[in-house]
């Protein structure tokens, strides 16, 4: 039985990073090579999914914030049931509940992530939190903030509830709703103002697309 080790190659890295890697590897009882191999394997897995490691780490962190902020993940049937039972008879109350849930979550984000402008990661936060979303766009121009979500699989009712949640969330960041255009699967929201956050986000918006589609 051959116990030949796989061939190795040398790569150049920054000295300070290697020193930190060495400390962690040592703490974990691994060689630097074993540690680096494990990291590279994971990184390759991520890049093969069409993502980057920073994106996955950030999405994980945002999901962690959502999870710690009273979110839960449930089968879609539950929202369908809610809509079938409550939406038609008490649409305003249900819409208000979603608005308030979004508003609370926005305030929680402000309190939790005090060293960053929430607008910097609002797009990714929405992407991590909204249902079946294929595209999310957040753009700020002057005193106006635009939020667009495209989620073709959502029903009209689901889209409206989701829009209320986003309105609540963005309003709690100091913006006032200015205009909304909501049709099945598409949410277009414009806000004005922005309080302390104004001007701290780039003028150009960016777009996140579901890379798995």
């Amino acid at each position: 039985m051959s116990s030949k080790k796989p061939p190795k190659k040398l790569v150049v890295v920054r000295g300070d990073i290697l020193a930190k890697v060495a400390r962690i590897a040592n703490r974990e009882g691994k060689t630097i090579t074993t540690f680096a191999n494990e990291v590279f394997e994971q990184a390759i897995k991520v890049y093969e999914m069409g993502l980057t490691l920073p994106e996955v780490v950030e999405l994980y962190m945002l999901t962690k914030i959502s999870r710690e902020g009273g979110g839960s993940v449930v089968p879609r049937d539950i929202i369908r049931y809610l809509i079938s039972k409550v939406y038609r008879s008490d649409r305003d109350e249900l819409t208000r509940r979603f608005y308030e849930a979004g508003s609370w979550f926005g305030k929680y984000i402000v309190a939790r992530v005090h060293d960053r402008d929430p607008l910097e990661f609002l797009e990714r936060l929405l992407y991590a939190n909204v249902w079946d979303v294929k595209e999310v766009y957040v753009g700020k121009s002057g005193g106006k903030l635009s939020v667009r979500c495209v989620a073709p699989q959502l029903s009209e009712e689901e889209t409206r509830l989701l829009a209320s949640y986003i309105e609540g969330l963005v309003s709690s960041l100091g913006f006032k709703p200015a205009k909304n255009d909501i049709i099945r699967g598409i949410i277009l929201l414009d806000f004005e103002g922005g309080g302390e956050s104004e001007g701290s986000y780039g003028e150009e918006g960016s777009l996140i697309r579901d890379s798995q589609e």
């Binding site: 190659k9 990073i17 494990e38 590279f40 990184a43 991520v46 999870r67 009273g70 089968p75």
Partner: protein
């Protein structure tokens, strides 16, 4: 900035250099960026593989129709569904769990049953304060505690976990489910196919 040499598996270095080329980056830049992310994760007392697996499971949950919902809204809706038709609700949990377990087993074949069960429960039950899956001979002991869980949510989650376990060949031999507390003892029922590696080991 001083540069140093790091030895790594040749095939992985080759893959990284291909990735760097396709992204118009230098290998030096990409390797540093990858290692920096890994260090960031370790500083938070996490492991990169946990984050990547967690991301994959969440992405799959989303693809399979799971949606994030504010906890109180979810619990209230579920309570109503449960009161209307408790049997159908728990059956739904079992079916979803079994289906989800099969999908994920195909997508993450290297994950051992205890790890897969633990990760699925952890990714679904965000409000859980404790999720543990312990191996005891041919049995798995599942413990999930969520002080904020409603009764109906606890029951649905327990059934989902049993469904996932069923998909991996484990049957519930003992269960204790009360609001916020799930304790399951699962035993492997399905015998391994000839030549199939024992994923429990």
């Amino acid at each position: 900035m001083a540069r140093k040499l790091l030895a790594a598996r040749a095939d992985l270095v080759e893959e990284i250099s291909k990735l760097a080329r396709s992204r118009n980056q230098t290998i030096y830049g990409l390797v540093n960026s990858i290692l920096e992310q890994a260090l960031k994760v370790y500083r938070m007392n996490l492991k990169l593989e946990d984050i990547v697996d967690s991301y994959m499971i969440l992405r799959n949950l989303k693809n399979l129709g799971f949606i994030p919902l504010p906890e109180d809204v979810a619990y209230k809706a579920l309570d109503q569904i449960f009161n209307d038709d408790p049997k159908e609700t728990v059956d739904l949990g079992l079916r979803l769990g079994e289906w989800y377990g099969r999908v994920l087993e195909a997508q993450l074949p290297d994950l051992k049953p205890p790890d897969m069960l633990r990760m699925i429960i952890r990714e679904v039950a965000w409000a859980a304060s404790e999720v543990a899956v312990l191996k005891n001979g041919d049995q798995l002991i599942v413990r999930c505690i969520g002080p904020r869980f409603s009764r109906s949510y606890t029951e649905l989650l327990a059934r989902m976990a049993e469904g996932v376990a069923l998909s991996m060949g484990f049957k519930t031999v003992q269960r204790y489910v009360a609001r916020g507390v799930i304790l399951l003892t699962l035993r492997r029922e399905k015998s391994l196919r000839s030549g199939e590696p024992d994923r429990l080991v």
